[in-house]
């Protein structure tokens, strides 16, 4: 207990004298940075997830072939979620002599739980927001159904045995992302369904239960689903529903997490340096305590307590500042972020404390062990500096601390191992490289002016300190550059993924004879036609001449989507734009050759030269796999699981599919298109595309903000790093000044030293950030790695521009202090 009191008193004294100030400031930066980023990432991520629910029309949907039991629904109600029920089926809709298969959605009054339902009076024009179902006896229909039945608003249609009036035309309907059904949609009231008598035992009906609610309730719901749902009931989350959003969100999330992690590393560098400085400056004090009879372990205990107090206070302040910063950022960015940003939860507080205490502990342990070894003789002989502890202990304790914090942050042991191992390897290579550069520097520095030689000499003589400082600077720069590089690549990749003229309309059922006329129609309206692909619907029935049931068992449908339903098969001489061959070759002499999609191949264990048998109508046809393709499903272009060689499918009577970009102001031409090509169906994806773009834009904003924050944090850490070497510089400047050096000479010495350090760090950082970015692109973001030529000259320049002023700013007080004060201090 007396030790505790001594520690408390020592802490109070150091607090008053400012000794602990830099450590606190570094903790404040590291922890507020981590907290800000962690909370923003979490809130924006949750906000973006909420936004994606607009596309699905709900946060979660349970789809089931049978009505879910009331008891089960009651269990869900207990979780406190809002619910909207609907059933979906296909049925023939009749108007006079015209028939059309329609995809019917019978909804209750709560529809939609998310997103906007818009109903208009005229096809393809802006409608008004609507809520719930049409009133009894009325239906809303899609423009395609109107056109197919050749009717207009207020006309009547028959569904089963009941007549309905068309009271509105659907402009957008949340939850209708089912491109596969292709049947034009119709919305009716759930309560009207029994009267139609279309649903009979054995009818194919999908019961949809939409849910939305608080995150906590949804989390409980997800847990509940894992155990409570039967095999035929499927849960769909907002993201699963949209591959583009999923991949964009996934990448944004990875990026933001990475930024948080790198922010933490930045802070750790500062904490490592300043906690060591603190310990070094207390050798005398420790020697005095030893002199008056304190044991080594007491010294260790007391200083550990002092640093623990500092860690706790610094962390608390950091967390408070972090919460304030993230709230300010979210408020400032409100216009660009998702509309409904969930409030911050308290998870980041725990993370902050764990990070603060662990990092201080891990990085100051070597220093603490050293202070434990201070000999009381130091009181008499000031030059008796305790030996540093083994480098292995320092490295081990730092890595353990970082590893634990990173693991707590990401909960991904693989990612943490990769980052740490990569980091160690990189540090080893870089320090070897720095040693080489220093040796080179020694050779060339002999013939330069005195201040430069003095600066260089200083670096060369303090080789270990130079290595540490170069490492610190290059780590800081590397982190900043990596974040910048990845951000550039991510954003340009997103832009590439959905360029401004991404096709936003699909046309299907185009007869072969009309393909040329269709192309011309688009061209006359100044619209660029997309590729036109033939399409034949077929089901996989055999793999290598064994039925799919034989290969995968009765529940083969669970193996992959491609076994559950009929596939759109096509043939083509050229490889579609958004496809890439992974195995085999596109060109083949095998007339039966087929090219299949990679995920399907993986799920069904298909290899090159395997054969697939397809059922098309009442006929079958076989194909041998000659290539496996990667397909960008989120390209908004027609994509196919299976592509045949020309000549194989033509006899099956194909229709054609195409996509094109149509600006909003030209939407009206769709009416003319439908009149001219009466058999076609048009799928509008422009609304979804717009939503996807919104989400990507928000993710980009979040990424930009985090980039700025990391750079700002990096600059502050740079300053505190230079501040840590202030004592020594002050003393040297004091002696130089006493010997008659002018301020200019001292400045030149300092500038040339920082200039060299910056050059070294800049070169290291370029090398390191290229390597890290390469790894990240390849393994994490799954985008093609590229080398950045500009980085190799920009990085050293940026390093000089950042480090030299930071260094000069850090040591500026030297110039304004009387030399006698500096000398008296020592």
């Amino acid at each position: 207990m007396p030790d505790f009191k001594i520690a408390l008193r020592l802490f109070a004294r150091d607090w008053r004298s400012g000794e602990l100030r830099i450590l606190m400031v570094s903790l404040l930066i590291a922890i507020s940075g981590l907290t800000t980023i962690a909370v923003i990432v979490d809130r924006v991520d949750r906000g973006m997830s909420k936004e994606t629910s607009q596309i699905l029309g709900a946060d979660r949907v349970i789809r089931s072939p049978r009505p879910i039991l009331d008891a089960t629904l009651k269990e869900i109600s207990a979780l406190g979620l809002n619910r909207s029920d609907s059933i979906r089926f296909r049925t023939m809709v009749i108007a006079g002599n015209e028939f059309q298969l329609a995809s019917v959605r019978a909804v209750d009054l709560s529809y939609p739980l998310a997103g906007e339902l818009r109903i208009s009076d005229t096809p393809f024009v802006q409608g008004k927001p609507a809520k719930g179902a049409p009133t009894t006896g009325n239906v809303w229909v899609s423009p395609r159904l109107l056109q197919a039945l050749n009717i207009s608003i207020n006309n009547q249609v028959e569904i089963g045995v009941q007549r309905f009036t068309i009271s509105g035309i659907i402009e957008t309907e949340p939850g209708n992302t089912d491109f596969i059904s292709f049947a034009p949609s119709l919305i009716m009231a759930l309560s009207d369904v029994p009267a139609t008598k279309v649903i009979q035992p054995g009818s194919r009906v999908a019961y949809h239960y939409d849910f939305s609610g608080s995150e906590a309730a949804l989390l409980q719901f997800d847990q509940w689903c894992k155990t409570a749902l039967s095999a035929s009931e499927r849960v769909i989350g907002a993201e699963e529903n949209s591959p583009t959003v999923q991949s964009a969100l996934g990448r944004a999330r990875n990026y933001l997490n990475l930024a948080g992690l790198l922010g933490l590393l930045l802070g750790s560098v500062a904490i490592a340096i300043v906690s060591n400085r603190y310990v070094r400056r207390h050798f005398d004090h420790a020697a005095l305590l030893r002199c008056i009879g304190m044991k080594q372990n007491h010294i260790l205990y007391i200083y550990s307590l002092v640093l623990l107090f500092a860690a706790l206070i610094g962390t608390t302040l950091g967390i408070i500042l972090g919460y304030f910063l993230q709230q300010t950022a979210i408020t400032a960015l409100a216009d660009w972020l998702p509309e409904k940003i969930p409030s911050a939860n308290s998870g980041a507080v725990g993370l902050g404390y764990i990070a603060g205490v662990l990092v201080v502990a891990g990085f100051s342990l070597p220093g603490l062990l050293r202070i434990r070894r201070v000999t009381p003789m130091r009181i008499l002989r000031n030059d008796l500096v305790p030996l540093p502890v083994s480098a292995w202990i320092s490295i081990f304790s730092a890595i353990t601390a970082l590893g634990l914090v990173m693991w707590r942050y990401t909960l991904d042991i693989k990612l943490v191992s990769v980052v740490l191992l990569g980091g160690i390897l990189l540090t080893a290579v870089l320090s070897a490289f720095t040693r080489l550069l220093l040796r080179f520097l020694r050779k060339v520095s002999r013939s330069v002016a005195m201040p430069v030689r003095f600066g260089t000499g200083h670096l060369l003589r303090h080789r270990e300190a130079t290595l540490i400082q170069t490492a610190a600077f290059s780590i800081i720069l590397t982190l900043m550059l990596t974040i910048l590089l990845v951000r550039n690549e991510l954003i340009s990749d997103w832009q590439k993924q959905l360029p401004p003229e991404t096709p936003n309309h699909f046309v299907i059922n185009l007869p072969p004879a009309d393909t040329q006329a269709f192309r011309e129609f688009l061209l006359t309206h100044s619209i660029t036609p997309g590729e036109i692909y033939p399409m034949v619907r077929g089901r996989i029935v055999e793999i290598n001449d064994k039925s799919v049931a034989q290969v995968f068992g009765e529940h083969y449908g669970q193996q992959h989507n491609s076994l559950r339903r009929e596939l759109n098969l096509t043939w083509s001489t050229t490889l579609p734009k958004s496809n890439q061959i992974l195995q085999g070759g596109w060109q083949t002499s095998n007339k039966n050759g087929i090219s299949i999609e990679q995920e399907m191949a993986d799920s069904l264990n298909l290899q090159l030269n395997d054969t697939l048998t397809f059922n098309i109508g009442s006929l079958t046809t076989k194909g041998t796999i000659t290539s496996i393709r990667k397909v960008e499903w989120d390209s908004f272009e027609p994509n196919f699981y299976v592509i045949f060689q020309p000549g194989k499918l033509e006899s099956f009577g194909a229709t054609y599919i195409s996509s094109f970009y149509l600006p909003l102001e030209q939407k009206i031409i769709l009416n003319g298109m439908l009149q001219k090509f009466s058999s076609i169906s048009i799928l509008e994806t422009d609304r979804i595309l717009q939503q996807v773009r919104n989400i990507i834009r928000q993710a980009s904003i979040a990424v930009e903000f985090v980039l700025i924050f990391v750079i700002a944090a990096g600059l502050i850490v740079l300053l505190s790093t230079t501040y840590a070497s202030l004592d020594e510089k002050e003393y040297e400047a004091g002696v130089l000044r006493t010997l008659g050096a002018r301020n200019r000479t001292i400045f030149l010495c300092i500038i040339s030293e920082y200039w060299l350090l910056a050059m070294l760090a800049g070169i290291m950082a370029t090398f390191a950030s290229e390597s890290i970015a390469f790894g990240l692109y390849y393994f994490v973001f799954k985008i093609d790695p590229v080398l950045h030529g500009w980085l190799w000259w920009l990085s050293p320049i940026a390093a000089i521009l950042l480090i030299v002023p930071a260094g000069v700013f850090g040591v500026r007080s030297i110039v304004s202090t009387q030399p006698v004060r500096i000398l008296n201090k020592n």
């Binding site: 030059d383 005195m450 000499g457 200083h458 003589r461 303090h462 040297e732 004091g734 002696v735 130089l736 000044r737 006493t738 010997l739 008659g740 050096a741 002018r742 301020n743 200019r744 000479t745 110039v815 009387q818 030399p819 006698v820 004060r821 000398l823 020592n826």
Partner: protein, 224 residues
């Protein structure tokens, strides 16, 4: 060559103004040596700092070679020191990252000498440390470090040499060697020496004496 008139130094503390030096007057000729003595806290080191331009006075003037250094800027004083002043400190103040030779070379380089290394080697020879010119301060004994500091102080061929308790950190025998060396070089180069010391024997070796108490001069020989 050195004339000090009505020199005062006060500092502001939490308890109000504190006078460290009060109305100091002094006149020294080239080649003379002055011992400044007095109890701890009497203002000896402050006087030395002011005379060397390491600190600024509150009032009064310090004329060295007809230049009032109290009117010079920080850089002006630095330049003045480079040309006219040498130092020997109680705690040596050698730069730990430079070798003995490099420490001696430093003031010569600052002065722009072209044969800095040659001169520095000569000075190290004079103080008997030729064999140790490549050693770093922490590889030298206290006496050896002080000898390097003396070599450094004479390197710029100063008119004025300030020594602040130069033997304070050394044993009697080494201290005596150092003092002999100091006075020897002093007479060879005809330097004006101002020495702060507690040691009466040492004070007696100087041609002039000044005693301070509580910032005031209580005893000074008749030249003032």
């Amino acid at each position: 060559m050195l004339t000090v008139s009505q020199l005062c130094k006060t500092v502001t503390t939490t308890n109000g103004k504190l006078t460290i030096l009060d109305d100091i007057n002094l006149n020294l000729k080239q080649g003379e040596s002055l011992a400044v003595s007095g109890p701890s806290g009497s203002g000896k080191s402050t006087l030395l700092s002011l005379l060397a331009g390491l600190d600024t006075a509150t009032s009064g003037s310090i004329l060295i070679h007809n230049t009032d250094i109290t009117h010079l800027s920080e850089d002006g004083r630095a330049e003045f020191r480079a040309r006219h002043v040498g130092f020997v400190f109680q705690s040596f103040h050698l730069l730990p990252t430079l070798t003995a030779l490099e420490n001696v070379v430093l003031p010569l380089e600052l002065k722009g000498s072209t044969d800095a290394i040659e001169q520095a080697n000569k000075l190290l020879f004079e103080v008997g440390l030729s064999a140790r010119s490549d050693h770093y301060p922490n590889q030298l004994s206290g006496g050896e470090q002080q000898r390097v500091a003396i070599a450094r102080s004479f390197a710029s061929n100063p008119d004025l040499l300030f020594a602040d308790e130069p033997t304070g950190n050394l044993d009697t025998k080494t201290g005596k060697q150092i003092i002999d060396l100091l006075f020897d070089l002093n007479s060879k180069q005809n330097t004006t020496l101002i020495l702060v010391t507690h040691d009466n024997n040492l004070a007696d070796r100087c041609s002039r004496n000044m005693q301070l108490d509580s910032g005031r001069c209580i005893n000074q020989d008749s030249y003032a």
